[in-house]
Amino acid sequence: MMRKLFVLLFCLLPVFSYAGEAKDMAADPVLEKRMIGLAEKLRCLVCQNESLASSHAELAEDLRREVREQMNKGLTDQEIVDYLVSRYGDFVLYEPPVKSYTLLLWFGPFALLLVAGGALFLQLRKRRQSVPEIALSAEAERRAATLLNNDKENQA
């Protein structure tokens, strides 16, 4: 009996060791969810490839607190994002806005694809032109067929 209980408890272990996003106090679950949703779109400046939602850095915790407080004050998501951008720059946004200096970032890959695709197309067309189809005479056609058939029979 004791042993079965122990096994059962052991099986339940993963439930208790659930690892989620970095946790703070979750006073209001609705607000917390909204905060995490917004924080996922924001970058942690200390560990630059992590979002504010997933980072355990102290600055990220402070910034989550800031976002939570501003939400409590009734600010909209956009107002909060604008505030953070005014302090930390566009860098806090995971998705950089389309601006004159981000045009290359946004459209560069498509331009590159277009150029490379165009070059490939031209190259292939040139190659097709440089290797003309050779029309075989009836005699040569027959010889080719025999050779091919012989080969098949040999293999069989």
């Binding site: 600055l59 302090r87 720059g89």
Partner: protein, 176 residues
């Protein structure tokens, strides 16, 4: 021969981009606060918590706001540079003690010397967020109108003091 030229050109351009990339520091994020008024705050002074300090008190003066903390390792590297600057009496340095324990901060200043006219305590890091602080130490050059003119991320070195901060301070001093 010509068929090798294009791949070569592409290679050189790519290598050029990568070479420039090698010398860029991704930790240096340009601050949007440069050219904007320094965010207002009123915080207790570190040495005398009953007294307060606000950037508004500094109207009409060019000054440096240096964000530091006792737990910050690069601040120790920067400390002698700031002490040296303070001795020269060129520009007043005010400290923002960021997310620190008062006792630790006071010990650091007692043992390592105090380059600051005064420091204020930002125990919870709220003013740090208002100033866009993400990597201590950071230093702001603030002009007579209270506008941030320059932000140094990471320790101030004799070189960037000489090449950037001091010439800027001299220039700002001349302006009304």
């Amino acid at each position: 021969m010509t068929r090798f030229i294009w791949p070569f050109v592409v290679f050189v351009v790519l290598a050029g981009f990568l070479y420039v990339g090698l010398n860029l520091d991704p930790r240096e994020v340009p601050s949007p606060l440069v050219g904007k008024p320094a965010p207002a705050f009123t915080l207790p002074q570190l040495a005398e918590p009953t007294k307060q300090f606000s950037p508004a008190d500094m109207k009409g003066k060019v000054w440096l706001l240096n964000v530091w903390a006792s737990w910050c390792v690069s601040c120790r590297e920067e400390h002698p540079v700031l002490l040296d600057l303070a001795r020269q009496n060129i520009v007043p340095i005010y400290g923002l003690d960021y997310k620190d324990k008062r006792a630790d901060a006071l010990t650091t200043l007692r043992e390592g010397g105090d380059p600051y006219v005064l420091s204020v305590s930002d125990a919870e890091g709220r003013i740090g967020i208002a100033y866009g602080v993400y990597g201590v130490p950071e230093t702001y050059v603030i002009d007579k109108q209270g506008v941030i003119q320059y932000k140094q991320i990471g320790p101030v070195t004799p070189q960037n003091l000489r090449e950037k901060i001091l010439p800027l301070v001299a220039e700002l001093e001349k302006k009304p």
